[in-house]
Amino acid sequence: MSCKTLYDKVWDLHRVRELPSGSTQLFIGLHLIHEVTSPQAFSSLEEKGLNLFCPERTIATVDHIVPTTNQIRPFSDHLAEEMLKKLEENCSKHSIKLFNLGSGNQGIVHVIAPEIGLTQPGMTIACGDSHTSTHGAFGSIAFGIGTSQVRDVFASQTLAMKKLKVRRLSFLGKLKKGVFAKDLILHVIQKLGVKAGVGYAYEFSGPAIENLSMEERMTICNMSIEGGARCGYINPDKKTFDYLEGKDYSPKGKNWDAAVQWWKSLSSDEDAIYDDEVVFDAAQIAPTITWGITPGQAIAIDSLIPKPEALEKSDQQTALEAYKYMNLKPGTSLEGLKIDVCFIGSCTNGRLSDLKKAAEIVKERKVAKGVKAFVVPGSEKVAKEAEKEGLHQIFIKAGFEWRKPGCSMCLAMNPDKLEKDQISASSSNRNFKGRQGSSKGRTLLMSPAMVAAAAVNGSIVDVRKIIN
């Protein structure tokens, strides 16, 4: 059993009591909600005649269903309008702070909470959304929950949880040029598989991780869940504190000094014990891209789609399904594969640094003919910053559409959808069948730089060839 890791320390601090069932009642420091997984939780709370226990510890935004072209209310999609109305009603009834459209702080829930300083080291964070693992980048223990659990947090600010095991993933060396955080995490998922993390919290550490910016660290923790781990985290360090200093919700003055001191004590101890450990060499990682229908079906851009016999027996069936669905042949390369749509955005890669990297590639180039390319900033803040730096002009000049913030074509609950069996180069996190809005649509996950490169090239290309 693990001990003296950050996970253990945060768990112990938030433990309320052991329940008769053998689970632990755990206090949740920050509860984030959005329009998709909260309405049923509010109804169920009200059916039980209950109120929010700590309304001030819940923060809401709207992200999944918002249109990214015209955001004038009422939305033309009346179902989407109804969902936002319900959220507004529920938030005002229960005194919950809502960052609504136009507030300046609206955006994808996992983008906005860090950028306004809500996400802090040592917190337990829950949200009815599996990518809550993102917030682990700050050394918090953050995980996705279902709607019934959203209700439990409303009612008690606690959850019945079972303690996870802790696996340390250490990354030696340094990422090479043209290789990004997204490649690192896709590489991990490809190597360990999509279910390896079940029952574990992932601690990402080592020099290659320490080298990453906070935004890159968020990309890594974000996709822990694609590797099966409900929560992933990185020990807080100076970069974490520098990022947080001065943010709206960050502690101020005397409290700031006390906070930093406490945060420093949270990192896993030198002699911490882990349940498992895996070591990677970051320098060996190439731009990585998915070819199939699970995030684990990925390859280095300079290698070939695996043949079934090269895969583990238990992975072969899903591989056969993937070749068929994707209409791709084993033993071939993805380079040169024509693409129809390029999507830059999502809680994985919709932050300012992601847009900057993509803009660098797009600059002075044009989107290839026949390709629909669009950028959806992760939040209103990201959009504003990007516009201040003129990134939007670079994209628009190249032929990209510049949209308003939201989840957009990451899951296609708004009007942005693939059509028929279109192929999308996407900076998002899931390539499941039908994920981007068409039941035949095909998604290839990659870094924003690779998406940008594909957009100007018209087909999949190794981004290293473009930047060299």
């Binding site: 206090f27 109804s43 009612a155 279910k195 502690p251 409290n255 899931r430 069948k433 039941s439």
Partner: protein
């Protein structure tokens, strides 16, 4: 859609019903309930929409459209079922179709917890055992199976197979404590004590 009788309620010691087998590893919650059906403020309509795209795209008959499987309440799956998004809409859709328990080789974690919190037991079996169970299901289409959570067995006529279920989940199901809210609220005094020692709730001065 199978007419769902009652939704789970109170202690769940066993689930008795016909089985439906859905082959495939890594079946994600986007496939169980595609995102466009998440545009709802309650779960009521989900039962008809379960596996909608898979059912539409499949070359032959999808198990959920096969008349033989009508009224089935026990779903048998392979590995890593329910991976992906945390949407409780997925178990809710299955429950509203009529599923009351799931047997698999393994489950994704959030999905497993979501099922538990609405009273749908997810039990696991080894690969050989599950194969033998599926063989039985395929041979005797109308046979009733009993998932006995208390004795950790699946029973059909004279046959039985061992099943695995986490100790905590078993306790929660058999005692009726799977609906956690009231138990959690009862801990209010202890919650307040915990809150007093958490630095970020106390200006970092402890």
């Amino acid at each position: 859609m199978t007419q769902a009788s009652f939704f789970p309620f109170g202690p769940i010691k066993s689930v008795i019903g016909k089985c439906i087998y859905l082959p495939g590893n890594d079946i994600d919650t986007d496939r169980i309930i595609p995102a466009r059906f998440l545009k709802c403020v309650n779960f009521e309509a989900l039962g008809n929409q379960v596996f909608m795209d898979d059912r539409k795209e499949i070359d032959n008959l999808h198990p959920f459209d096969n008349d033989n499987n009508k009224n089935a309440s026990i779903l048998i799956v392979d590995k890593n079922f329910g991976c992906g998004s945390s949407r409780e809409h997925a178990p809710q859709a299955l429950m509203r179709w009529g599923i009351r328990a799931i047997i698999g080789q393994s489950f994704a974690e959030i999905f497993y917890g979501n099922c538990l919190s609405i009273g749908i037991p997810c039990v696991t079996m080894s690969e050989p055992n599950i194969k033998s169970l599926i063989y039985k299901v395929n041979t005797f289409k109308q046979l009733l199976f009993n998932i006995d959570i208390q004795s950790k067995k699946i029973i059909a006529e004279e046959d039985s197979w061992p099943l695995k279920i986490e100790k905590e989940s078993r306790k929660m199901l058999t005692s009726g404590a799977w609906d956690a809210t009231s138990i959690l609220i009862n801990g209010k005094e202890k919650i307040n004590i915990t809150m007093k020692k958490i630095p970020y709730l106390n200006s970092f001065i402890i």
